[in-house]
Point group: C2
Chain length 398, copies 2
């Protein structure tokens, strides 16, 4: 057993062998991560939050300032008397990453600077012909090049969101059914054309990361994010860490069985959650064609904001609730974030789901009531998550 | 965000502030853990596995030998020529813990020495009148005292397994429906009468731990253990760590909804996995009374070992499979271990479940086929897990 049960005890050498330069690198990464995630603050705050003494903070900040990664400035607004403390600010353009969100109908990308500032964006629609892996890879590479030239920045790494079953170790896409992709070496192929480190992850996993770092789950260590873009998926953060299974695969919450013997799913099972609450099911519940344009679906949902729910939508809410009871009972989260299309659900549906989970989940009651919220990041969640994914190794190497 | 995403990076001070005595304590705990989990080995093996130099190993082993925690001995069997290397052996009685498994019909307890050796055992049956928390606590305390005197050992800590929803932080039992317990400060109350550190955990979580440390999942970092003792529960180890949710509560896999609108469950939901594959459901499938004695149930299952499965048992297998498809799709485990009563299932049932999961789980296929095995530890799993739970802090403090 290489890892300790329940503890953070690493290999015996990790502490025993810590060298001064390792400690410096570690402190530098921790300080940058603090500024990146929580924004500018004073040296004193850094010292308190990171548990380091002021001379160590000074050395790290001076080093980063010399390298052009941070600057120090007097805050514009003074409060209180006395000399204002200098704020340490990350300089966005000193460390930039590329974020790419491959969705079924669109690819969105952005260049993001340290601190999370979006420096530039680009997107294009996908059609049947342009949705092949080769077409997408080429278009991403060309657009990244143009964006980098336009902004005069060089990305240090890329994070890619894909709605599918992804092996995190090497960015292998096992299956992305709604894109029509299977067994694509996306990570390796993109790294080769982009000529930078590339990490690929499941879209729902990145939605969870985004909400955890910059969204509604900032101080929540146990959360589940539900994605709903054509298919349904889920990303889980447990005890502050992303939940992944064997070989880096994350679970597929869209394929929990909610209705045994129900509709056949492409996955080989029947009555999957996705077949009951995916976009096609929502369209059916709204009396629309299963492939109705997203705009029409959203407009229809908005029109129901204050109206009583039609019967089929009520049934839709029941299936959404049934799946969430299972998710909450299995994961014991503090917070469930409903993303994508689910952010447009009428309040009546969300309320019905909240009530059902409260009444039917033993675990929700045990943990003091699992909260259920819609995503404030909405359609940007995966792009934000992809940027954070890319920043992870970058912050340690700046 | 206090924890790093995806990394093992702790607070900045943990490396920067590592002192020599901390490193020594850390090395000592790592070495003891190695001996405890994997058994005796040479100093050279310890050096290789722990990544420490020989002089550090010598210092730690000498220190532990002086404290009477390990000894060094020539192995009985010599293989190859040359002088045999001394083996470092943990001395079981030098660090002992108390393990307690509170089951519905019985309490089992053991004193376990470092290395996992069971030094002594005791158990008693529970009836309606003796199943109250007060009766159990008193009986545990008295029996622990007797066992300690008999063995002439002093336990350094206790681990308690309970079939219920447990808050790990303080051993609060929120609900243990099959015991009829709710809101019991079990950890605090037991610590006060046993006068030692006490940790309480959900029985399925401890089953998972036991299989991970000493059972069929020794080298498996992503596993799910399914307990089936009256109720059904699950313990998950993900990336080598136990999966826990908010405030240390683990999920309740028994309450995933497999049959919407099905039988009413005490938890407030309907058609929970437990209502379809718990012991009462199994009895129904076998044509027995729902409260048939365990021995009768097991005998009936054994009699079906080679016979064709009766229809109701086939249906039981289908519900077991349906729940497992959901579990595998959500957790992406490498291995699922079926524990307790499920170890007595006819091979035909287990095979049917294996086939169903293989055919219907997208995630099983992605990870290269989730294995499904019955527990080799069987009825002892929770007791073994409770001992390991108790050893966790003890190994760091010997």
């Amino acid at each position: 057993m290489s890892r300790a049960w329940g503890g953070e005890i690493g290999g015996a050498s990790s502490t025993a062998g810590a060298r001064p330069d390792e400690a410096r690198r570690h402190n530098r990464a921790a300080l940058l991560r603090r500024l990146h995630v929580d924004g500018p603050c004073t040296r004193a705050t850094l010292a308190t939050e990171l548990g380091l003494n002021r001379s160590t903070i000074k050395a790290v900040v001076d080093g980063l300032a010399e390298a052009g990664v941070v600057s120090e400035a007097v805050p514009a607004q003074r409060n209180g008397a006395g000399r204002p403390s200098l704020m340490v600010l990350p300089l966005p353009e000193s460390a930039v990453v590329l974020a790419v969100d491959v969705r079924v109908e669109q690819v969105a990308m952005s260049m993001v600077g340290i601190g999370g500032q979006v420096l530039g964006r680009h997107s294009w629609n996908l059609h049947r012909r342009t949705r092949t892996p080769g077409e997408v890879i080429t278009h991403v590479a060309e657009s990244a090049q143009l964006l980098a030239e336009e902004l005069a920045v060089t990305a240090r790494g890329a994070g890619i969101s894909v709605p599918g079953v992804v092996r995190r170790d090497d960015g292998w896409v096992h299956e992305a059914p709604n894109l029509g992709w299977s067994d694509i070496a996306l990570g390796t192929r993109l790294a080769s054309v982009l000529r930078m480190p590339v990490q690929v992850a499941n879209d729902a996993e990145l939605g969870a990361l985004a909400e955890h770092v910059r969204g509604v789950a900032r101080n929540v260590d146990d959360l589940v994010y539900i994605s709903a873009d054509f298919g349904v998926g889920g990303g889980v953060i447990s005890d502050g860490r992303p939940l992944r299974g064997t070989r880096g695969y994350v679970g597929e919450l869209g394929h929990l069985v909610v209705r045994p013997g129900g509709r056949v799913c492409y996955c080989g099972s029947r009555g999957c959650w996705e077949t009951e609450v995916g976009e096609a099911a929502l369209c059916r519940a709204l009396g629309l064609a299963e492939d109705a344009p997203r705009g029409v679906v959203v407009a229809e949902l908005r029109s129901l904001a204050t109206a009583p729910l039609p019967g089929p939508l009520d049934e839709f809410a029941e299936w959404l609730a049934t799946g969430l009871v299972t998710v909450v009972n299995m994961m014991a989260p503090e917070l469930v974030v409903l993303g994508d299309l689910f952010t447009a659900l009428p309040a009546g549906v969300v309320d019905r789901v909240r009530t059902a989970v409260h009444e039917r989940s033993l675990v929700s009651r045990a943990v003091g009531g699992t909260r259920i919220e819609t995503s404030p990041l909405g359609r940007d969640a995966k792009l934000v998550g992809a940027a954070e994914l890319a920043f992870e190794p970058v912050l340690g190497a700046v």
